[in-house]
């Protein structure tokens, strides 16, 4: 195992994050804080509690998920896309490092950044609401699991994309709408019955539901079903990455 190679990629990616601190860390935290102010404090104060949880607290897991998903995808997709774009990928492809090790390096870095941002948002939210996390260990486990899973997904997008527009395509047109419609700001059972049924086809519903369960034990869907869905998606991403490297798809000519 090329541990030093994995660490070199990880360190390179993390140093890029700290080089662009305002864009990588401050920007998502600021955006989420604005959500707290608008939806939590301003509008939330006029909305009834949901299953005994004040609305301003209820939206915290959803807001963290909203940022985590987009951050994980953009971190890892950009991480692998940029070397392809700039030509520096030659060094990684000619190094004695396996596809699996390359993936670990990029995905761990992307997921670490997401987890850091998630924790900062969580700490920021404590300035706005009283935080009471019922299952903190599960909360951290889910934060890491979801960050890793969507970093893997972002990695696939980064390999598939051959221009900057494609990098934004899936996050903008699929992930963000699904996250907004996945119960970030509401509970699924607040929807009319037909929309509740449609929502169950939205995979993001399962992520938000599981994450919210770790906070308040309030859940739209059983935690087992949610965990199985997340793990299933993780395995799908791993299989896709295995075949991408095996076939050299969009990496080797």
């Amino acid at each position: 195992m090329n541990i030093r190679g994995i660490f070199a990629i990880y360190k390179f990616e993390m140093s890029r994050t700290f080089r662009t601190f305002s864009q990588s860390i401050i920007s998502p935290v600021l955006t989420t804080s604005l959500y707290f102010v608008v939806f939590g404090s301003a509008i939330g104060s006029r909305i009834e509690d949901i299953d005994g949880t004040p609305y301003s607290s209820f939206i915290i897991p959803g807001l963290i998920m909203l940022t985590i998903l987009s951050q994980s995808i953009s971190n890892s997709s950009f991480g692998i896309f940029f070397p392809k774009f700039s030509g520096t990928i030659y060094e990684i492809l000619s190094a004695p490092i396996s596809p699996f090790e390359i993936t670990i390096g990029y995905v761990c870095a992307a997921a670490s950044k997401s987890v850091i941002v998630g924790i900062i948002i969580l700490l920021t939210s404590s300035f706005f609401v009283n935080l009471n996390i019922i299952h903190p260990v599960w909360m951290f486990f889910l934060l890491i699991l979801i960050s890793v899973t969507f970093s893997l997904f972002g990695f696939i997008i980064g390999i598939w994309a051959n221009d900057f527009q494609k990098i934004q395509l899936i996050p903008t047109f699929i992930i963000t709408p699904l996250t907004f419609l996945g119960g970030s700001f509401y509970s699924i059972d607040m929807l009319p019955e037909i929309w509740q049924k449609i929502s169950y086809f939205n995979p993001i519903v399962y992520l938000i539901s599981a994450f919210r369960w770790s906070f308040y034990e309030h859940t739209d869907i059983s935690i087992i079903v949610s965990l199985t869905t997340i793990l299933g998606f993780l395995i799908l991403c791993l299989i896709a990455i295995y075949y991408i490297f095996k076939l050299g798809y969009k990496i080797k000519v």
Binding site: N2, R4, A8, S86, G87, E91, S94, P96, K252, V253
Partner: protein
């Protein structure tokens, strides 16, 4: 065991372009091998396949006995690559990019070794500068430093001196000769025939994806090179006409040109004997040896 051994290598791109056909090549340990060829001949394709950047369709490549596919980790750990294009992360510091390269190749940290490379390549003063602040020539040296950062046994350089000024080119040649002295095998592709002539122990010529000749540089020149004797004759005489006919001299402005093979040892002395015998006096003479460029152009014209 050879440093590089390639047999029956074929490469066809998805658009149908046949980049390489039945390449068979052996590069000896410790030699400088130059691959010459016009644009699009397949030089970069060959390097990219050896180093694992591009896929092959057929054939086998081994690096110091390690197969570059089934034993890619062992094979690649012996290789350093300097690609044709300057590709670096502009915002990184010189020293950080070298540490990154060394780490990728699973080598332990060594500031002493990296500092030595930076000194050898006259980059030490710039080690803490961002790459974007360096000149084009310095960036190219950073690329070489990155390739050397993990102590490779074989160094591939794809057009290392393209767009580089004369002074830097000569410095790089010196660096490459120093590496050779340290036992590093060097495989370079170049447009500049002078580069191959100055550096290479052996030369391969590739044209339209096929290697058309591999030979020692000196032998190739000897085998295919020509010499031209340029002579100015004082006075035209009848006997000169006979000599012109005998030696097939060509008239060029005020001179006569005698073309002969490098291995034709007696022709010059016979020619002067004949001039002497016929009392033909000459004013000036010059002997020009054909360059590798002329040999190369002759080869690809055939």
């Amino acid at each position: 065991m050879h440093a590089i051994e390639i047999s029956k290598l074929d490469k066809r791109y998805d658009n149908g372009l046949k980049a390489l056909t039945n390449i068979n090549l052996k590069v000896k340990k410790g030699e400088i091998f130059a691959l010459l060829g016009p644009n699009g001949a397949g030089k970069s394709s060959l390097i990219n396949i050896i180093c694992g950047i591009a896929k092959k369709n057929n054939g086998k490549i081994s690096i110091l006995g390690f197969d570059n596919i089934s034993q890619y980790k062992q094979a690649r750990s012996l290789i350093g690559l300097v690609p044709q294009e300057i590709a670096t992360d502009s915002f990184e510091k010189v020293i950080d990019t070298l540490k990154f390269s060394r780490g990728l190749f699973n080598k332990k940290k060594s500031s002493t070794y990296l500092d030595k490379i930076l000194r050898d390549l006259s980059l030490f003063e710039k080690k803490n500068q961002q790459i974007r602040t360096l000149s084009g020539g310095m960036k190219r040296r950073v690329m070489i430093a990155k390739a050397l950062s993990h102590e490779p046994k074989i160094l591939f350089l794809d057009e290392p001196t393209a767009g580089v000024d004369v002074e830097l080119r000569k410095n790089l040649w010196k660096n490459l000769n120093d590496l050779k002295k340290n036992g590093v095998t060097i495989f370079l592709t170049t447009h500049y025939i002078e580069e191959a002539e100055q550096l290479a122990d052996r030369v391969g010529v590739i044209h339209e994806g096929k290697i058309i000749v591999v030979e020692k540089t000196s032998k190739l020149l000897e085998k295919l090179g020509k010499k031209t004797l340029k002579i100015s004759i004082k006075k035209k005489t009848e006997s000169l006409k006979l000599i012109i006919k005998k030696y097939s001299l060509k008239k060029s402005v005020s001179h006569y040109l005698l073309n002969y093979d490098l291995n034709d040892k007696n022709i010059v002395s016979n020619f002067f004997k004949d001039l002497n015998k016929n009392q033909i006096e000459f004013e000036d003479l010059e002997i020009k040896k054909s360059s590798l460029e002329e040999v190369f152009l002759n080869l690809i014209d055939k």
